[in-house]
Symmetry: C2
């Protein structure tokens, strides 16, 4: 089965974006010159799975940031919501997490980048995430879209490594232990 | 003014206790032999401020764990709720965070340990917390009492240091920057 991998920044109080998806609190961080390992992470995935909220945020950027295929989970979007120049690299799906991973597995994906707060939550709940790299940003924003959500039972993690950056970012890499 | 200091463990998803105040997820961690700096922290405070929820959890322990005075914030508890052997070390107050700190300042306290999720939130909101040491435990528990709560505006932090332990605990020390 294709494995899910999470690489996310979150405020110290656990939010990946404000409620309106804004990332101003993240963008203002003085991280210039720091290599947080994002490029290396991206080289080692076959593509991305994200929700419509994240997708809409990303198409608002000046440039499309991804070189790998992107699967957008949405029950309401249609092909016409995808800009013409992205038709080759973006696909919509109405499948749930498990069916998406089965489908990607058949297409030869080994590792999928699972992105966006709500999507990450649903993939974690269904046991489809193998590891999480979380970069804690030194700010409290009080409310927003949570990185982690409700779960049926505790999920134990194993810390693989942790490192800090001059900007105050603390990046920790965890694998998820299967609760059998 | 007396300064507030926070030294808390939280699940990676940001909870300091389950909704019923249970700490089983924390107690099960294999941290034997690790010195997380708690004793050193306790030596450098003049006493503790906590809520009635934390107090009720702590008096359920086999032994009273504190050698320093404890102020319990509660609108409903009365002297009869305090065990007789703790009458000398525990005081109840109905004051709010700012008035408590003014009062403690008059009594000569320089540094107060601010403990318990809801209490920490209210002291942070009122700008009474100088620094936070947060130990992230490698587990997701999904729901519970949050370490951080709603705030009126963002609070920037400055990372002072971060270290990891063999148990998978990541402990980071932040000072809170005053938003002027």
């Amino acid at each position: 089965m294709t494995t899910g991998h999470v690489f996310m920044a979150a405020s110290l109080d656990g939010f990946v974006a404000r409620l309106d998806h804004a990332l101003d609190w993240l963008m203002k961080q003085k991280t210039g010159g720091e290599d947080h390992g994002y490029d290396t992470f991206m080289e080692n995935i076959d593509g991305l799975v994200m929700g419509s909220g994240s997708f809409k945020t990303v198409i608002g950027f000046d440039d499309w940031p991804y070189k790998k295929p992107v699967i957008v989970m949405s029950g309401s979007m249609s092909e016409k919501d995808i800009p013409a120049d992205l038709m080759d690299s973006v696909k919509l799906t109405r499948l749930g997490p498990k069916d998406i991973m089965s489908s990607l597995n058949r297409e030869g994906w080994k590792r999928a980048y699972v992105d966006g707060g709500k999507i990450v939550q649903s993939f974690i709940r269904e046991g489809l995430v193998e590891d999480i790299t979380i970069s804690h940003i030194p700010i409290l924003i009080g409310s927003g879209i949570r990185l982690f959500g409700e779960i049926d039972q505790d999920i134990d993690l194993q810390l693989q490594s942790s490192r800090t950056f001059g900007s105050g970012l603390v990046q920790s890499h965890y694998t998820l232990l299967k609760n059998s």
